[in-house]
């Protein structure tokens, strides 16, 4: 499936730049984050199943501001 058109949204305040939000041509929103390892899941008592990523708070702020 070719993503023909892609928009990267970047939000920046006086101090920092949030990681990107991608709007894809097939209607998805892709967030930039880090995968949660099994060790982290265990340490933080997170559910063991399902894909998880961690994103920083500035990205959440960017989502509120930009989407």
């Amino acid at each position: 499936m070719a993503l023909k058109f892609r928009v990267e949204l970047v939000w920046q305040d006086e101090k920092e730049t949030a990681s990107s939000i991608y709007l894809t041509g097939d209607g998805r929103v892709i967030l930039q984050g880090r995968a949660i390892s099994p060790q982290q899941r265990a340490a933080m008592s997170l559910p063991a199943d399902g894909e998880m990523i961690s994103v920083d708070r500035s990205l959440i702020r960017a989502i509120k501001e930009m989407l």
Partner: protein, 350 residues
């Protein structure tokens, strides 16, 4: 919705001379003229006596503007200095005067609180009178709200449709990766096309023999200043990292001034860094862009017509609108801030 505490373009510099010139800005009539020493002056274009436009009058001695109807005279500060047939001048007989600055071949006006009018806040358009660039400016009258022009300039995908026969093609839509960066003071929309053949117009003026790295960077500064930075360099020479050597650059420079809620004074210019002193080149580049802009103006008119018929008709946003949406959000926030500050000042004064 108008944001008042900003410098806007009121006129191109050559438009204004000793004959008073009328222009409506943000629903306010303004008379523009030059003093004998060339200094631009802007006064409210409405005599406080019977509200005739002062621009219908004429300048008399000491740069005083005389009303065409009953001869009341106003100095450059807007104060009435003579009422024919009487010695007493009513205290309320004065018109507003507006700060004006001449810069970048344009006259800039401040419609808000004069105490805040710092010329250092004028948006940079130096390419229009920089000797290292060739440039030409123009004026278009757009029958639409000023924010529709913002939307248009911040969106690259309409080029493929509105400007199909001039500057656009489907590749702009089908293979675009666009970056929309929102900063505390504005929005930047960026697109890079790396290691691709140069378009024919670029080959003609840039003499490229191989592939190029091209950029299209749209910079929005609120409320309505949009500067497009486009160009190309031979591929691999480092343009994406900021080293622009051996290529060509152009700037498309736009400044929208609201006339009313549904009409806009659209000032724009086109600048190029190749053959900057070749007037024929400047004209050729300018005419190519102007053709495209006239296509946009037709679109604006019909959009505004439909908005007028039903302002609440639903509107769908698509990915390509991202830049325009961010610009509108910034303007909405600035408008709320400005209104709050004005209300606070009014309350304090009462």
């Amino acid at each position: 919705m108008f944001l008042r505490n900003y410098w806007y373009v009121a006129a191109s510099a050559p438009e204004i001379g000793r004959k008073p010139f009328r222009r409506i800005i943000m629903n306010e009539p303004v008379a523009l003229y030059r003093a004998e020493d060339g200094t631009p002056i802007a006064l409210e274009d409405r005599c406080p006596h019977r509200r005739l436009p002062l621009s219908m009058g004429r300048l008399v001695e000491n740069d005083v503007l005389q009303c065409h109807y009953h001869g009341l005279r106003f100095d450059r500060t807007g104060a009435c200095v003579r009422v024919p047939g009487q010695d007493m001048i009513p205290a309320t007989a004065r018109v507003k005067s507006y700060p004006v600055v001449e810069r970048y071949k344009w006259l800039w006006i401040w419609m808000g609180d004069p105490a805040l009018a710092d010329p250092a806040k004028i948006t940079d358009y130096h390419w229009l009178d920089d000797p290292d660039w060739g440039a030409r400016t123009d004026y278009l009258y757009a029958k639409c709200n000023w924010q529709l022009v913002n939307d248009n300039l911040l969106d690259l995908t309409h080029l493929a449709f509105v400007h199909e026969t001039t500057i656009g093609n489907m590749a702009l839509v089908e293979h675009a990766a666009v970056r929309v960066q929102r900063t505390p003071t504005g929005v930047q929309v960026t697109r890079w096309i790396i290691d691709q053949p140069a378009p024919p117009t670029f080959v003609k003026v840039g003499g490229f023999t191989g592939n190029v790295d091209r950029w299209q960077i749209i910079d929005f500064q609120p409320p309505s200043f949009i500067r497009l930075d486009v160009g190309a360099t031979p591929t691999g020479t480092g343009a994406p990292e900021g080293r622009r050597v051996g290529g060509i650059q152009m700037r498309n420079l736009n400044a929208m001034t609201p006339e009313t809620d549904t009409t806009t004074h659209y000032f724009w210019g086109q600048a190029h860094d190749f053959q900057p002193h070749n007037a024929e080149m400047t004209e050729r580049v300018f005419q190519q862009i102007k053709t495209a802009f006239l296509e946009d103006v037709s679109v604006f008119t019909m959009q505004q017509t439909n908005i007028g018929l039903d302002p609440d008709a639903p509107q769908v946003d698509i990915n390509a609108d991202s830049g325009g949406i961010q610009a509108r959000r910034i303007n909405d926030r600035l408008y709320q801030d400005e209104q709050a500050a004005m209300n606070a000042a009014k309350t304090a004064a009462e």
